[in-house]
């Protein structure tokens, strides 16, 4: 069977070779890179612009950004027909292609995130090493931890105030350079689509900017969701442990701290949400008004075939409803959670409507293609480009986040930053 035939349903006249070649994994790709970029920007708001209220979520989102990073590449590898050759993009980049820069941009960004985390956690790492070293008797686990943290410290054991001050400056510089790089990483994902002149829906110079804004929105939203969930788990654990250790903060204390962080973060979310919607609507209005050759077919895709996905799921449930939720006074944790989950749905649907919607019509403008997401993975291809492949991509960052936080805890760490 031809690649794409399993999930493409053609209607009217479509060129014989046309199928939906870019399917669910290419929806996941901008969605995941968007989350990476957004999480990083959120952490930078604290490190660079000194938004003090975001201190707690800043560390959290930075580590989350690290956990998301390898996952941004996963959908691409799952999508490639020759994944074993994926490394060629780094080896023989052909720079007239927007994808060719991916390796470089991605690596640069990865290095920035990794080194920023190192500077943020250096004090913690060194203190752990010193504490473990001081012990007379060490269990096997503790010895392993000592080796791990000693390696992580890379021999930089200086904890003098000057050294810590230098760490702080390094973090600020890295976070500062990280913002444009994060925006570039994602804006460039938008460029990959926006520069395809053969596709009437994708080709717009607004695409990179729209992608950046929605990326930040989704990144912040995911950080809030994960933050709320983690706090919920902490509350449970603390409530159980408080019997033995009355010094732990009470549920009420945790709750009030949590709502403060969530409220302020939501404000930034709303700000970027407004920007994202404005640009998306501008694009839509512009297309309607200019009504160039492709408009006839685009109109039938946007206003008829994909109406539910675009106007109900994306703009309605994904934008308007959370907007109302966030702007009503007296935000609660539960409302914030519902709102941010809806925002994530909205951004996901936006990616879907761009990637799949862009292939919903034939380049002949005389026919349509409908996408049927493969559910049951009866072959490797149907797994990779189906529901289970997408689920694998979605769950991986949470597993990684769990693993990373075993080594670099995001809560209750003493530091000067």
């Amino acid at each position: 069977m031809v690649h794409g035939e399993a999930w493409t349903l053609k209607e009217f006249f479509v060129y014989p070779n046309e199928y939906i070649y870019w399917s669910i994994q290419i929806v996941m790709y901008p969605f995941m890179t968007g989350l990476v970029a957004g999480a990083f920007v959120l952490s930078s708001l604290y490190h660079v612009f000194g938004v003090k209220q975001l201190k707690e979520i800043a560390r959290f989102s930075l580590v989350f950004s690290l956990a998301l990073l390898p996952v941004a590449m996963m959908p691409l590898m799952l999508h490639l027909q020759q994944p074993q050759r994926g490394i060629y993009v780094m080896m023989t980049p052909h720079f007239t292609s927007a994808i060719a820069a991916f390796g470089i941009v991605f690596t640069t960004y990865g290095l920035i995130v990794a080194s920023e985390i190192w500077f943020v956690y250096r004090q913690f790492i060194v203190e752990t090493v010193l504490e473990l070293r001081a012990r007379q008797q060490r269990s096997a686990v503790e010895s392993a931890r000592l080796i791990l943290y000693s390696l992580l410290s890379m021999g930089a054991m200086d904890l003098s105030p000057e050294a810590l001050h230098k760490d702080e400056r390094a973090v600020a510089i890295l976070a500062g350079t990280g913002i444009p790089v994060a925006c570039f990483l994602h804006g460039y994902a938008g460029f990959i689509f926006g520069s395809v002149k053969a596709n009437a829906l994708w080709m717009t110079p607004l695409m990179p900017v729209i992608f950046i804004c929605s990326a930040i929105v989704s990144g912040i939203a995911l950080c809030i969701v994960t933050y709320i969930i983690t706090m919920e788990i902490r509350k449970r654990i603390f409530a159980r442990n408080r019997r033995n250790n009355p010094g732990l903060p009470s549920t009420e204390e945790l709750k009030s701290a949590e709502i403060k962080v969530v409220t302020i973060t939501v404000k930034y979310l709303v700000m970027f949400l407004v920007l994202a919607i404005t640009l998306e609507l501008l694009d839509l209005i512009f297309r309607t008004y200019t009504a160039v050759k492709s408009w006839d077919i685009l109109r039938s895709v946007i206003y008829e075939r994909d109406f539910f996905k675009i106007f109900i799921l994306q703009y309605g449930l994904g934008n308007l409803v959370p907007f109302i939720i966030f702007l009503r006074p007296g935000l609660t944790i539960r409302r914030a959670l519902i709102g941010t989950l809806l925002v994530l749905l909205g951004v996901f649907m936006m990616r879907w409507n761009v990637v799949i919607g862009g292939q919903a019509f034939s380049a002949s403008f005389s026919g349509f293609m409908e996408y049927h997401l493969p559910i049951w993975p009866s072959s490797v291809e149907l797994f990779k480009e189906g529901l289970f492949g997408a689920l694998a991509v979605i769950t991986t960052p949470f597993v990684l986040f769990f693993l990373v936080t075993r080594v670099l805890p995001v809560f209750g760490v003493q530091d000067s930053h």
């Binding site: 690649h3 349903l9 053609k10 027909q81 993009v89 292609s97």
Partner: protein
Amino acid sequence: MINRREFCKKAVIIVGGIALPLSALEVFNPKRLLAEKDGNGKVRWVFLVDVHKCVGCGFCVKACKIENEVTYDANVTRTWVERYVVTKDGRVNIDSPKGGRDGFTTQKIDQASAGLKEINPGEIAKAFFVPKLCNHCENPPCVQVCPVGATYQTQEGVVLVDRSWCIGCGYCVMGCPYGVRYFHPELHVAEKCTLCYHRLCKGMVSACVDACPFGARLVGNIRDPNDPVTRIIATEQVNVLKEEFGTKPQVFYLGSSMEVK
């Protein structure tokens, strides 16, 4: 005694110093410059389709599939034939069942999942067939977007794919406005019409040109003023497809109509 810092410094200077002139050699490689598409080689292959002569028999599609070992029954093809049936009310009906491989044996229009559409012969204003293939553009968007340079243009203007280097990302497939690219069903790499480059290099013509019983398909060298194809393009009213994309397509259509997509 040289210390570590000095050693590193010197190593960087020496490596950099050697790399710089070497890279200049690479940049000014005259052989490569000659191979660039703008080089004024003696040959630039172009294709000419005479729409008036095509009867939609599908021999070209068959010949192409056999010659180039494109999986015969797979629903992809390097070249195909479209049927246009324009009714008196101005409606344009297009189809290309199996790429027109087996000819057009029914008068009903194949509308894919929307079924077969019957058209009253009395309502038909005009009908014609249009063969399609890769346009071997002068400014090929597929070559531009390939992230690893696996798709390239030869000195003679033919756009080819290096099957051993294609990573299968599909960017070229998305970048082509003409829909001529697809993934090879068995090799899983980008696949397209090569204008039968292997035959052209041996002085033969493309398989579809050979197979066409009516002379609707011709291949020629636009740099040769005496080539019959060049003469037709220079003197008659020919057209190209989707000129607005700026791809400078090199497949010319004689007798094409505005309905052609």
